[in-house]
């Protein structure tokens, strides 16, 4: 009994340790700045709905690779503007990425998502989504993600 409790505590500690030990490398001051700008889009603009920040953080020539969203800052505003529901911005994410990696001008986000299992709609399963942006001169210049075009009647 005592031993199994100890073992359980040890395995929980190992698991927590493994989660905390996520080694995402050392960021240069410029990489940290780039990551901060990228987070303005991913968190403050998209998750907290502050579309007005696009003027400052999204470059006019923003190249959009998501095939469902028009390109450019104008396209971004046209697509996300009507959907935005602004809320007070917090430091913490509403939907926290599982991982953030920054290398030079590229910032990569991994998200955990859940979907209904097509084989058994009473069950769900986990899958992953990525977003990546390129930052230059304090503005986001380019964006990639997993999105594909759905048939007209489908969702995103």
């Amino acid at each position: 009994m005592k031993l199994s409790t100890k073992l359980m505590a040890a395995s929980v500690a190992t698991l927590v340790g493994a989660m905390l030990a996520q080694n995402v490398g050392k960021l240069s001051p410029q990489e940290q700045k780039n990551q901060d700008v990228a987070t303005k889009e991913m968190k403050d603009i998209l998750q907290y709905g502050h579309i007005e920040l696009a003027e400052q953080y999204i470059a006019p020539i923003y190249i959009q690779h998501n095939p469902n969203v028009p390109t450019g800052r104008d396209g971004f505003l046209k697509f996300f503007g009507p959907r935005a529901k602004p809320e007070p911005i917090k430091d913490e994410w509403k939907n926290k990425p599982a991982l953030i990696l920054t290398s030079g001008d590229l910032v990569f986000y991994l998200f955990d998502r859940t979907a209904k299992d097509p084989a058994d709609p009473s069950k769900t399963y986990n899958y992953n989504w990525f977003d990546m942006v390129r930052v230059d001169n304090g503005q986001i210049q380019e964006h990639w993600d997993t999105a594909k075009k759905a048939p007209p009647q489908g969702g995103r």
Partner: protein, 163 residues
């Protein structure tokens, strides 16, 4: 040949070099020796294991108890090896990735390696037309092996364009 064009050529060369340097500085990419080795290892795995379909590459590059986040695969190295073994191996193994199997972006940071792909598919909203989309593979490296893998695969056909 007069002196002037020669000087002009030298000037162009210096300008090109300056542009290349600016580009490098703008990217400020300074991978560590370990990050460079991790990126090379993942690209070798991709080329030998997935492009050339050599099952033994799985033993060389993947940890036996690899954590698999693709929801269509069981955990561990064995499942990946079995999948590769269904295809005929390519010999000799190509020295470089063919252009259509080369990632659009690739980098290593910390223990992780990111590959971002550009694919083309039939446009479901416009019959006869094609469109481009992106996908990713992410790896965590531990003790010189791939210890964890994520990608964009789903259990449903919307993501079935994945290779």
């Amino acid at each position: 040949m007069t002196r002037l064009p020669k000087l002009r050529r030298a000037g162009v060369a210096v300008a090109l070099l300056a542009m290349a340097c600016t580009q490098m500085l703008a990217q400020s990419k300074t991978p560590t020796k370990q990050e460079k080795a991790n990126l090379k290892m993942v690209m070798d795995w991709w080329r030998e294991g997935l492009v050339a379909a050599h099952p033994e590459a799985a033993d060389k590059y993947l940890a036996e108890n690899m954590i698999q986040h693709n929801p269509n695969f069981p955990q561990g190295r064995a499942a990946v090896k079995t999948m590769i073994a269904r295809r005929p191996p390519v010999n000799p193994i190509p020295a470089t990735l063919p252009p259509e199997r080369t990632p659009a972006k690739a980098f290593a940071k910390g223990d992780y390696v990111v590959l971002v792909w550009e694919h083309e598919a039939n446009d479901p909203t416009n019959p006869g037309a094609k469109y481009k989309f992106n996908d990713f593979d992410l790896f965590r490296i531990e003790n010189g092996h791939i210890a964890e893998h994520w990608d964009g695969a789903m259990k449903t056909p919307p993501n079935a364009g994945k290779e």
